[in-house]
Symmetry: C2
Subunit: 432 residues, 2 copies
């Protein structure tokens, strides 16, 4: 099937930079973009879709979340971090069944797809449920089962979570024509032992996997690691071989200059999660400094328990303004760089270099914004409009792999009412 999107404003990528094409044409052949330009292409398309009044942009890539935590949205909002986690979040998570985890993930898919997310990286228990959901819903997903170990005596070979993680890799990696990828995952330095990390990192490397972990999220984490190991979390992970596989490090709020140098040397990607870092009082990730250090910086929402939603347009907005305020420099974050963080940089992190930008030859992961909304007028700078003015709710179409998943409020691959009913039933069971 060949589909031509016509008359839209297109945020295309040329030579690594955005170029805005007004009243343009974007051709799709199957699941790939085959044409972008001002002029109507010569090739014949089976179908044409009028995108007048719309801004076409690359789909957003949410590089760090815990989707089933939608069911914990708003839990213990007024509690200190430790009480929130130990008295509220963990006991509820202990009660979660696989069916509830699946319901929570499906609720997250509704939210993410409606706000223009076309691919996401998830870290949670029972990730096979997310794999099945993603296959049905048509979204891209990098999934992982995070490894933890609190028993210094446990041998890597006996770690049940690592086993599950590797089984998952063999069962689902590359499924749904590559839409599903399975990553390896160590939860964090403070939740894992040296021997388990070392063994698991070696297996990840041997199997050609990618690693997803939490890194230097809080000051306490950074300081306690130095006390425990005599080095920072980044140095500890590097020394255990973790960074020998392509790694995605979430948060990175408290990185030192030498940590940044480690991440640069080992090509570790950073996931900036501004809402979560601010709400939880973790602090400001040194994004302008990390940019100068040449790191690949991406964006993530974190889970809905600490965000409290999964709206990448909010992360784009925050990333574009908070560092200006923090450095007292209104030019420190460029709109184009922030949009790259949410798209092409995320694609690189996920190992999906065939996605993340609107270019002929790339996968057709495309979102459309409705520029007829009052707050998107005038529209002479679509890039600034997208970054500073637009809302997640301005997304009027979400397409993944050439297939429309969402359009004008309707979900085409998910039964919205069923998913909401299942999520509400899970909430009722969990909280009584």
């Amino acid at each position: 099937m060949k589909l031509l999107l016509k008359n839209g404003t297109i945020l295309a990528t040329e030579c690594g930079n955005f170029r805005c094409i007004k009243d343009g044409f974007l051709g799709i052949d199957g699941n790939k973009i085959d044409y972008i330009g001002e002029k109507r292409p010569e090739a014949v398309y089976d179908e044409e879709k009028d995108m007048s009044g719309c801004l076409l942009a690359p789909g957003l890539i949410n590089c760090h979340t815990h989707t089933p935590m939608t069911l914990l949205r708003g839990v213990g909002s007024d509690l200190p971090l430790h009480e929130w986690l130990f008295d509220k979040v963990f006991p509820i998570e202990d009660r979660l069944t696989a069916a509830e985890i699946r319901a929570g993930n499906n609720l997250a898919l509704l939210e993410m797809i409606a706000c223009g997310t076309t691919s996401y990286s998830d870290m949670y228990f029972e990730p096979q449920t997310a794999a099945e959901n993603a296959m049905a819903a048509g979204i891209r997903a990098n999934l992982c089962r995070p490894v933890q170990c609190f028993d210094e005596k446990e041998r890597y070979e006996d770690n049940q979570r690592a086993k599950e993680s590797i089984e998952l890799f063999h069962a689902y990696h590359g499924a749904a024509n590559g839409r599903i990828r399975i990553d390896f995952s160590i939860h964090a330095e403070y939740t894992c032992t040296e021997s388990v990390v070392r063994g698991y990192a070696a297996d990840c490397n041997a199997l050609g996997g990618r690693m997803h972990l939490h890194l230097s999220e809080t000051k306490q984490e950074q300081e306690e690691c130095i006390k425990r190991h005599g080095k920072t979390p980044a140095a500890w992970f590097r020394d255990l071989g973790v960074f020998d596989s392509p790694t995605a490090a979430a948060h990175c709020v408290w990185l030192t200059d030498s940590d940044m140098e480690i991440l640069r040397e080992k090509s570790v990607s950073v996931i900036h999660c501004p809402t979560s870092n601010l709400k939880l009082g973790s602090g400001f990730a040194p994004v302008p400094k990390m940019q100068k250090a040449g790191l690949n910086i991406t964006l993530g929402t974190d889970g809905a328990a600490s965000n409290n939603n999964l709206n990448m347009m909010e992360e784009i907005h925050l990333a574009s303004i908070i560092h200006n305020g923090y450095t007292l420099n209104p030019l420190v974050m460029k709109p184009a760089e922030v949009l790259k963080m949410a798209t092409v940089n995320g694609a690189k992190l996920q190992g999906r270099s065939d996605t993340g930008s609107l270019e002929a030859g790339k996968k057709a992961d495309i979102i459309a914004f409705d520029l007829r909304r009052p707050h998107l007028i005038p529209d002479f700078d679509p890039l600034a409009l997208l970054v500073y003015s637009a809302q997640g709710s301005d997304v009027c179409m979400t397409m993944v792999d050439g297939k429309v998943l969402y359009e004008n409020g309707e979900f085409l691959t998910i039964d919205r009412e069923k998913v909401i009913a299942e999520a509400k039933a899970a909430v009722k069971h969990l909280y009584g």
Copy 2:
């Protein structure tokens, strides 16, 4: 006309605190709330409206904006502050006609009403156009014509802007059954002379007016004022009698401790504008400190040229999380306090103590959020949901003075297409 809103979740106010009523009843008699409770009221209502699945909250009050600057949305996004203002913004503003200013204000009304703003405080040229628009649209508006003077020799009596401001007061103050209020306004310390400020402040006081001004927005403003006058802007305004009238001070990013003491003594209200302060690299207003000092803190969007929208739900979101991050304390901003900033505190600033909360006897300025959206599930803590998860686009009804202005995407008092066409025509004229 008596109207009963039934079956909604109501964020009512009792003894100054929010109380959440599930499946409640809210009765309206004319333009006032006459009942709130769990039980159906005994009185008979002419009409009943089912609000199942909705959260009813007090209308949002945007305490600082420059509405016609919607026409400058996105202008010069990548320029340093001085070039942005002097090379882009000011030359465009010089070309603006009264008709264009009116078109820009009307575009702003669409945006604000759709996002739940029921009252706003505006500072711009030709404010009579905004008064006429507000009378027609049904929104509340505190309008002012900012006074400036760069000529040290000009006598107060000869200042044309001050004259316009006072004429405006006499022409429109209290119009539309009090929906329109006219405030006095000094643009800022750095744009006005001592003699004009002194004379105007005396007139404001004599006429029982309220003052609206910019205060300590940037580090440069604070430092240059001290060089110029040997005192901070807050001390300068106090010494010239400005704060003898109820005053609304926008930004307050660089207030010193003794400035806060001045504001407390003189009951000056603070308008926190987080998006604008961050985007322009002005910094972080010391909101937690100002709260401790007992100041009345409100929220504002500032103009669309520096925001770049007029969405109070974004200001609520930012105010609720950025100070946690800045102070490394996740509990420093309470959701209830942030919602008060956006509602009842704003009402106090505007001199509208009969608005700003859902209580029997208050004006019926009510907004509804659609809780059936996926990102608003589960809903066991509606206050946290509103502050951390909800979007401006979740507003499904906006009511002012008992009259519905907006419902489910439709504007009932403004011709949306006409306003958009006029705004686009103005943009075309301004930018060619």
